[in-house]
Each structure stands twice: as structure tokens, then as C-alpha cells.
Amino acid sequence: MQRRRGSRWGLFGSALGVAALLATSACTVDVPTDDGNNDGGGGDGTSMLLAADNGSPTFDRNFNPYSPGKRQTSTLIYEPLFVTNTLDGTETPFLASAKEQPDPATVVFTIREDVVWTDGEEFTPEDVTFTFDLLKEFPALDTNGVWALIDSIEVDGQDVIVHLTGDNVPAAAIIQKTIIVPEHLWADVEDPTTYTNEDPVGTGPYMLGEFTPNEYTLDRNEDYWQVENVAAEELILPASNTQLDIVNNGYDWAYSFMSDVENTWVSAAEGNTFWFPPGGTIAMFPNLTMAPFDNPEFRLGLSAALDRDRIADVAEEGYVEAAGMSGLLLPNQEAWLNPDLPDGGAVSQDVDAALTHFEAAGYTMSGDQLVDSAGTAVALTLTTPNGWTDWLRGATEVQSQLAEVGITVTLNQPQPAAYQQELQNGNFQLSMGSFGGTGSIYEDFNRLLSSEFLQPVGTTTTANFQRYSDPETDALLAELRVTLDEGRQMEIAHELQTVVFEQAPVIPMFYGGLWGLFSEANFTGWPSADDPYASPATWDANPLLVLTNVEVAD
């Protein structure tokens, strides 16, 4: 989960960054600019420099929060009902002050009072229902697919009552992510899908300040309903945030993969810290519709043959941990971990065990090659997207480790769009891929294992790419979807982990990091391993959590 675009340049850049720091005796280099671009790092302390929005290479003025080309900070100007910490699923109320699920088919959101739009109009529950109606009328705006879950919506005083299409407990977590827009302005927008909303009016902690194509600012909304929690008076967002810029320009918060982070980012300035928690699981997806992957023993053999610690080290420079076979994101989701899984689901390399599994699947070693019953050597193709260098390093390591158990692996590296197509169509043998990281146990496992996404090879699917289908697993998922009983939810979560552990529908290898770089020089209270109240991600609603928690440094 890093921004891999242009990572070739990134590597070049960071190599140069190291050299730059050495060449200048590791002191901070300020790039000359003719304005106060650098006051984030060491300036007046109330304005914050963020690498949170990248121009391509300049900014388009688009603050439509539903547009794919939106400015990332649109989610600081508008707010959703609740914000979920994607690391562990904790929910924080924003435009709703509370919610209740009286039965599995109903969610009641109590809408916050005394909230005003930045043009002075009062925010009301009608704005909420207007927004949902808007998404229904324009499905292109409905990026979370809420109208696949909702049957109808009604207002009752300060409450908004959502009637679902059926029993669906996890639906609330998706519905409450919806970003709410003002009825009095958006009702007149002719086509909200192409609307660029150049002068946004929201309820959020920030409003648009000065906008230029190379940089813009956001000013604190002094009438914000929790303005006392918002420390930074101004946010500065430059369009160019190369790794060289990040190391040299004194950012307060940046999101970027950084090679050799200790000697680049950390040594660049006093107070620089980083936190790289796992944001998803990087796995090998075996195509379960074909031999030998249709045999669980063969998949378990592959799993046992891998030295995951080594793969994680090689792929991500030791920034992330190896992933076990529980299917969970650890340590984020530790509370859900099935205590019956040996070693918490971790699987260490065991060539003998691997060969035993292969033998059970009908494959034996012949000389230095693994062969099937007809004596044909096993040769596999592993697909990984071109240019995603960390995945490629992982895949190359897999290649050499599987060679040790007599399996020849060929790497197939299509362009990212073609990779996506091959993955969705099931046009692969083994493919690198990622799963999890939504913050919801149900969502994570449902997308991974549910036959609701099952499509024949050649037909596009949007989840369950390996094409797993098992009635018992489906029954577990169906029950998890409707049960409000937290004890039962936990039991089902345990059973789903056992499914992954014993059947290996995917082969998790390592965690994809979220690359958060922070400076404590001007602001403190950033999310960290000790206080993981939010992820370091600079997109979606996550910055709302972070910017209402940080404080001005003493």
C-alpha cells in the first residue's frame, strides 16, 4: 500500500537524497522559493506543510468530493457521518453524534446539532437524506455502493433512519462513510458527476484558502463544531512532493515510501519520525480453477516452502513484518486473532513439511525437480505488475525460494492496467495481489472468500480473484453479515481464519506498509505504534482523525 507510481524515479530520487544529505553534511537544505513555502518546518508553528496531494504535475481546481479527480483534501472540507480507523475498525462520530442498530436491517444515525456550513447555513438531517438521494440519482457518485445496501431512508426529528435491503450488520460501516454535501447548494447542480465545485462549502475543519496550480492552502474553519481540537491554523499543500522535496523541504506530515528512512527522512531534521503500520496483506493468489492449485495440499506446500521473513525483508527493506496464514492484519486486528492457530497463524519455512504436502497432492521430488505422477516437472508463472518494484523484489525472492523445492517459477510482468485485467479475469496461474485493510473483519473476509464474487475465468470479478468457493465458508459469512451478537461475530471470525489457515485459498506473504512520515518540531500527537488512533494515510477521511488530534508543539 504505497504509492508506487514512478517508483523508478523514486529510487533514483532517494538515492540522490542520501547523497545530497551526505554532501551537505546532513544539515537541512531549504530549496529557494520566493515565498513562505518552508514555514511548515521551523516556521511560526501554526501552519502545517503537507505532502498529501500530488499534482500531475499541477493541480486542477476540483473539490467535488465524489469525483475521481478530486483534490485529496476535499475530505477535510466535507465530512462523513462517522470516520473509521482503517487499522482496527474503531469508529469516531463526525456528522452523526451516535448510531444505533435496533435490528440487523435498520441503522439509526443521530445527526449532530449546531453544525453550520461555512457559508453560514445550518446543517440539518435533510442535508443527509439529500446526499443519499443524490447518490441514488447519480450512481457514478456512489463509489461505496451504498444503494446496493439501502432500501429507503427517512428523517425522524434529528434522526436519520436507514432501512436496509435485508439483514446486514456490516452495512452501517459502509453507509456512514458517505460524505455529506449541502442541499441548498448542490440541489441546483445540474450534473454532479462533472461538477468541479471550485468554491467548496463544507462542514469540515478546513476551508479553501488561496488556490494556485502549484500550491494551495486550507484555512481553519473557525466555526467548526470541534474547532478546539484543530491545532493547525493553515495547511499548505504543494503540488510537487518528490522524495527529494520531502527530505529537504521540512514537511510536517508526508506520505511516501522512503528508502533507508533513518538516513534520509529521520536525519534530515530534528524531530522527524516515521510510522509504517500494515495497511493490507500482500499475498500470492493461486488460480483455484486449475491444477495444481485446485489441490489445497499443493497450496499448503507452497506456503510451507516460503521463508516469509526473508521475503518481507527483501521486498520492503525490513519496514514490514511477514504475514501469517490467519488472513488478519496484525497487530492491528490482534483482538480478533483465533487463539487456536499455532504461533498466531505464523508459518515458518519448512522444506520437509512442504515436500510432505506436495507428496499428498501427488507431486514428488525427482532429482532436483518437483514432478507430477506423469513425471512432468512443475513450472509455474507468477504475475506481478510492472514497475511496482517492491512486489517485484518479493516475487523474485519467491522465485528463488521455490526453486529450492524443485519448482520453476517464471515471472510475468504486465503493465498495471493489464495486470488488473488479468487478475480480474482470472487469467493467471499465481498472481501477486493484496487484500484486507478495510478495518472491517466482515469486509476483509467477504471480499477474500465469498462466492458472491465468483465468476468463471474470462469474466471480470472485483474480489475473490483466486475464485474460491465453499458453501460452509459462505454460510459463515452470511451469518456474520446478520448477527448483532458480538460473541458470535468473534467465533465466526475465528472460524474464517481457520479456513484460510487450513485451506490456503491465498498465500499471504507480507504486509503492505502505510508510509507515514511525521515531524514533531511544530506539531505533536501524530498517530504511532503507541497511539494508533488513525492510519498515516493522507487520503479519504483519515486526515480528519489526524488533524483533530495533533497539537501544537511546546
Binding site: L16, A20, P57, L141, P416, T462
Partner: protein
């Protein structure tokens, strides 16, 4: 006149072929625009199934059979309507191209002219004083620098002049808080930002002009009329410039015409390294995002200008060198 008509006919035929190829080539790339959009989102973590449906609805990914699309495309080309970009949704392609074009035209255009003039003059000098220091220095340096890859030169300049010495800004076409306008301050700011990318292109392209000019000029210097001019006691400078160089410049002129035609394509690698908002960067974005409408418009613009430049050179040749008219 028949020569001109034949050239015009050829131009139209090539244009049609280019326009048609331009339609089919992007569509032969594996993956759809939606796949590209999802791949981009997937870099931040797994993408939800609902997102795919919304993106498809939003982009209005082309439907209908390929022949209908082709006919509609030809109509659009004739009316210069290239539709909405997928990457920069909901901006129109024409708007994007018109924003990027001036940056490329001015920066790459000026450098191309400077490189041609400077390189040709140095080539003349080197050939005239062949065997001396004035020959070996530009020739050797030119051979050396023209072998540099663009991005490598760009990264070196970025590092030394941008970061270590901090003489020049390292990215963008103007200062962070500036808005493009035509005030003298802004133009000075833009020129300052253009120095590093421009020098990069100059360094890598200068050598070609020097070597080309020098080599043809040396051939020309051996011709009888040059000896005759010298024997008649003309001043060396007049012989070099008026007789030898004037005849030797033809191949370089062809190259110059083509280079000018190629200017609109920008300089992808240089623009990418310096985050310069020109056509090259736009093309990079279009290709990596499977942005068919934007790709088509850009490729079309590039092919048409190269073809037109080619045509002009052809026509000029007809007058400069009557032998080609046959």
C-alpha cells in the same frame, strides 16, 4: 506544380493512415481505462467492488462496436472535438492540451532553435579549422554529450545545480504561489524555472547538430568550387560561410524541420524529471492511465505536426535543390 500536388496527395494519405493507426493502437493496449483507474487506486490498498461500478459509470467508457467508435472518432477529429479526459475527469482534452502546449512550445521550441543555430555555427567552425583545438573540443564534447540519456543529464543537473548549489528550482514551471499570466515578473519567474530543463535538452541535442554540420561541411570543403573561390583570393570567412556552409547546411535543415515538428511532442523524460507541465508530461499521464481520448489527441497533434514539417521541408527542398523535383 505537379510536384506540389503529388506532395499534397501524399500528405493527405499519410495523415489518414496516421489518424487510423492513432485510433487502433491505444485500443490494442491490454487493460481498459477502468482497469488503469483501479490499478492506480489499488496502490493505496485493496479497492472495493462498488468503486469499479462507480468509475465505469463516471467515465462513460466507450461502448458500441469498434466500427461505430471509429466513425465517431473520425467525425470528432474533423471537428477537433476530443471529448473528456479519463485521467483529469471532468476536464476536456482540448483544454488540457491547450494548457500544456505553450509551456512545451516555448521551452522546447526555443531550445531547439538555439541548439540548431549554435550547433551549426560550431560545426562550421570545427570543419573550417579542422584538426585544431576548435575542431577537437566541440567534436569530442559533442560526441560525448549526445550519447547522454536525457533523464541522466536531467538528474545530474537537478542534483548539482538544483540541490547542492541551489541555483535553480528543481521542479515546476513557475513558483509555488504564482498564477500563470503575462506580467514581466511571471515571465521572468517562468524563464528561471525553465533553465534546468532547457539546458538538459541543449546539452543532449547540441552534439548532433555540431557533428552533422561538421561532417557535411568537410565534404563540401573538398569540392572544386571551394578551391576555386580560395584561388580567386576571396576572404576565408566569405568562403566558409557564403560558399561551403550554405551548401552544407541542407541535411541539417531537414533535421531542423523535423525537430521543430517534434517540438509539440515535448520532451517526455525531461518534463517528467522536472515536473514541467508540458505536453510530454501530459502524454506520460495519458499513457500510464490508459486515457484514450487524451492519447489520441496528443498522438494526433504530434503526427500531424511532424507530417506538416516534413511536407514543408519537402516543398522547400524542391526549390532549394531542383534535382529533387524530378
Amino acid at each position: 506544380m505537379r510536384y506540389l500536388l503529388r506532395k499534397i496527395g501524399l500528405l493527405l494519405l499519410t495523415l489518414w493512415a496516421a489518424v487510423t493507426l492513432n485510433f487502433f493502437l491505444p485500443r490494442m493496449m491490454p487493460g481498459s481505462p477502468t482497469d488503469a483507474a483501479i490499478a492506480k487506486l489499488a496502490q493505496n490498498g485493496p479497492v472495493s467492488p462498488a468503486t469499479r461500478a462507480a468509475i465505469e459509470a463516471q467515465l462513460g467508457v466507450p461502448t458500441g462496436n469498434i466500427w461505430d467508435q471509429y466513425v465517431a472518432y473520425l467525425g470528432n477529429v474533423l471537428t477537433l472535438d476530443f471529448g473528456i479526459s479519463y485521467t483529469f475527469f471532468p476536464q476536456s482534452v482540448s483544454e488540457l492540451v491547450l494548457t500544456a502546449l505553450p509551456w512545451t512550445l516555448v521551452m522546447v521550441g526555443v531550445v531547439t532553435i538555439v541548439a540548431f543555430v549554435l550547433g551549426t555555427l560550431l560545426g562550421v567552425l570545427a570543419a573550417w579549422k579542422r584538426g585544431t583545438f576548435l575542431d577537437s573540443l566541440p567534436t569530442l564534447t559533442g560526441t560525448f554529450t549526445s550519447a547522454f540519456p536525457y533523464f541522466w543529464t536531467a538528474l545530474l543537473l537537478l542534483f548539482f545545480l538544483g540541490y547542492v548549489l541551489q541555483w535553480f528550482p528543481t521542479s515546476g514551471a513557475y513558483s509555488p504561489r504564482a498564477t500563470p499570466n503575462l506580467s514581466p515578473e511571471f515571465i521572468a519567474d517562468a524563464a528561471y524555472h525553465a533553465v534546468l530543463p532547457a539546458v538538459t535538452i541543449l546539452i543532449t541535442s547540441l552534439g548532433g547538430w555540431i557533428l552533422g554540420m561538421r561532417n557535411t561541411m568537410i565534404n563540401t570543403l573538398g569540392d572544386d568550387y571551394v578551391t576555386f573561390a580560395e584561388a580567386n583570393g576571396l576572404k576565408p570567412r566569405a568562403v566558409a560561410l557564403k560558399y561551403a556552409a550554405r551548401n552544407a547546411i541542407l541535411p541539417n535543415l531537414t533535421g531542423f524541420g523535423l525537430a521543430l515538428g517534434g517540438v509539440v511532442g515535448g520532451s517526455l523524460l525531461v518534463e517528467r524529471v522536472f515536473a514541467y507541465p508540458g505536453v510530454g508530461y501530459l502524454l506520460y499521464n495519458a499513457v500510464t492511465n490508459q486515457d484514450f481520448p487524451l492519447m489520441q489527441a496528443l498522438f494526433l497533434m504530434i503526427t500531424v505536426s511532424v507530417l506538416v514539417a516534413n511536407f514543408i521541408v519537402d516543398v522547400l527542398y524542391g526549390y532549394l535543390d531542383p534535382r529533387t523535383r524530378r
